[in-house]
Structure formats: structure tokens, C-alpha cells
């Protein structure tokens, strides 16, 4: 599979809201309070009031993520980004992430599939691509390295 770098995204996360036990697992919602993104073809900031991560910890230990972001490029375009993701790994690694420790991202699985929507002609290429992101859950917030699937 051929890919090329689309952007790297640095996200800051606010205090989560613990919804609790729901029929499919344990649900938690985390507001995404800001951040930046930077790549060869686009760069800008994450808008805080319309970005969040709806998480479901499944009974098989896999964390499902349903991410929504609004991105604003440095030239003023708005881009709606959504991503479905999975995060799982050895219990001790996941526990360390939960304690806010720095963990080697190669020791767990953290991948998402972003999709984009924009009305801005400069960025319309985003409407027609499939992307894959590799995540790194740092104590200061997740970093997503997003690749376009060619």
C-alpha cells in the first residue's frame, strides 16, 4: 500500500466526561481543546468548540474512538474532519497511558481512519481521499501522523 504524508496533528485534550456503562461498553467523551496541524499541503489550528472524541471501551478491551474536529487553515478555510479509530495493547501499557505516562507508541495499536469535508476549492482534494493515521498518546496530548492512501 502506498501512502504519503498528509499532516501531523498535535491535539490538546480537556477533562473527559465519563458517561459510564452503556450497552456496548464504557463510554467517555473528551473535549479536544485545541492544537495544530502541519503538512506539505495544509497547516493551521484545531478549533476547540467543535472538536471532541467520543470513546467507547468495548468489552474485549479495545477502545473505539469517534473523533470530530473542525480545522482552520492558515489561509482561513474550514475543514470538517472525522475519524474512526481503535486503540488497544498489553494491559500494563494501556494502564500506563491511563496514568498519563509517556509510552513508546510502538508498544500498542493506535490507528484511525480520517475523512475530510471542505467547501474550500484549495482543499477540495481532501474530499476525495482515504487516509490512515498513526497515533501516539503523549501525556500532553495525542499526536496523529496522517497519511493519504494513494
Amino acid at each position: 500500500m502506498n501512502t504519503r504524508l498528509l499532516m501531523t496533528m498535535y491535539v490538546t485534550v480537556g477533562p473527559p466526561l465519563n458517561i459510564g456503562t452503556v450497552p456496548h461498553g464504557t463510554r467517555r467523551t473528551a473535549p479536544l481543546t485545541g492544537g495544530t496541524f502541519e503538512g506539505p499541503r495544509l497547516r493551521g489550528t484545531i478549533l476547540p468548540d467543535s472538536s471532541a472524541d467520543w470513546q467507547l471501551l468495548r468489552s474485549d478491551g479495545v477502545l473505539e474512538m469517534d473523533l470530530r474536529f473542525t480545522l482552520r487553515t492558515d489561509d482561513g478555510a474550514l475543514i470538517s474532519m472525522s475519524a474512526f479509530g481503535l486503540r488497544h495493547g498489553p494491559p500494563e501499557v494501556i494502564a500506563a497511558i491511563g496514568r498519563g505516562e509517556a509510552v513508546d507508541p510502538s508498544t500498542y495499536y493506535f490507528r484511525t481512519m480520517p475523512r475530510f469535508e471542505t467547501a474550500h476549492p484549495s482543499y477540495s482534494f481532501l474530499n476525495h481521499l482515504i487516509a490512515v493515521a498513526s497515533g501516539d498518546r503523549r501525556p500532553e496530548g495525542p499526536i496523529y501522523t496522517i497519511h493519504e492512501v494513494l
Binding site: 500500500m1 495499536y109 482515504i130 490512515v132 501522523t145 497519511h147
Partner: protein, 137 residues
């Protein structure tokens, strides 16, 4: 920080479809249903038959691109059922046909499918669509 995305082959899915059902213009575009009446899938870790009763709900947009929304049931050669869905983009002008499959199964042998993300490269052949699916590592 990790760099390039790595993947490995998961399987090749060959679908047999019957006559297209054209729903027509909807709020999203022109909706076509491609009924899936069978097919095969084959990979190092799983293989078997695509069961009849699935389909791909394809929306044709004004700019000529298609968005796909497929659901099918796979039956492995050892009798397990796997629910497979994908969404995807087909843009014939740019020879771009990529999908994002997801899997659900209750069979312990295939539970790894519940925990992975995947990307498919699609191709329309005379005998039906073929999707080469890679697991995202």
C-alpha cells in the same frame, strides 16, 4: 514518533453482483444499489465464500465521484461468519478506488479482525468488483 504507515495483506475479496437497482435522486446524490449475490475471499489467515444477501449502496455525486457503503457476510471455509462493512470513495477520473473495511465476528479464531483497521484497493473487473484488502499495522 512513528513515520510511514505499514500494512500487510489481509485478503482479496471478489464479489458477484446482480443487476443494479437504481433508487434515483436522493438528498445526497443518485443512489444505486449493487446487490451482492456471492463471491469469494482469500488470504493467508482466512478464506471462504461471500454469502448472498449483501450489497453496496453507492451514491453518485455531482462531481462524478462515488461513495460506497457496503455490507456483506463472509463465511470462512471452517464455518465462521464474519460481518464485513466498508465505506469508500471511487473516483474514476483519477483511478482512485479505496475503501475502509471493518469486521465483526464472534469466532475466537478470527477475533483479530475485530481489532484491526484496514484499507482496500478496489477494481471493477468484467466478472465483478475485486477488493485487495490490507491490514494497517
Amino acid at each position: 514518533m512513528s513515520g510511514a504507515i505499514e500494512s500487510r495483506p489481509l485478503m482479496v475479496v471478489r464479489l458477484t453482483t446482480s443487476a443494479i437497482q437504481e433508487i434515483g435522486s436522493t438528498s445526497q446524490g443518485r443512489l444505486l444499489v449493487f446487490p451482492v449475490i456471492g463471491g469469494t475471499f482469500d488470504g493467508e489467515r482466512l478464506r471462504g465464500q461471500v454469502r448472498a444477501g449483501g450489497g453496496d449502496w453507492v451514491t453518485v455525486h455531482g462531481n462524478g465521484t462515488f461513495t460506497l457503503d457496503l455490507r456483506v457476510t463472509l463465511e470462512t471455509d471452517d464455518g465462521s461468519l464474519i460481518h464485513m462493512t466498508f465505506t469508500g470513495i471511487r473516483d474514476d477520473a483519477n483511478q482512485y478506488f479505496r475503501t475502509v473495511p471493518r469486521f465483526e465476528t464472534a469466532a475466537p479464531k478470527y477475533a483479530f479482525l475485530n481489532r484491526l483497521l484496514a484499507v482496500g484497493i478496489g477494481e471493477i473487473r468484467p466478472d465483478g468488483p475485486v477488493h485487495v484488502i490490507e491490514e494497517i499495522l
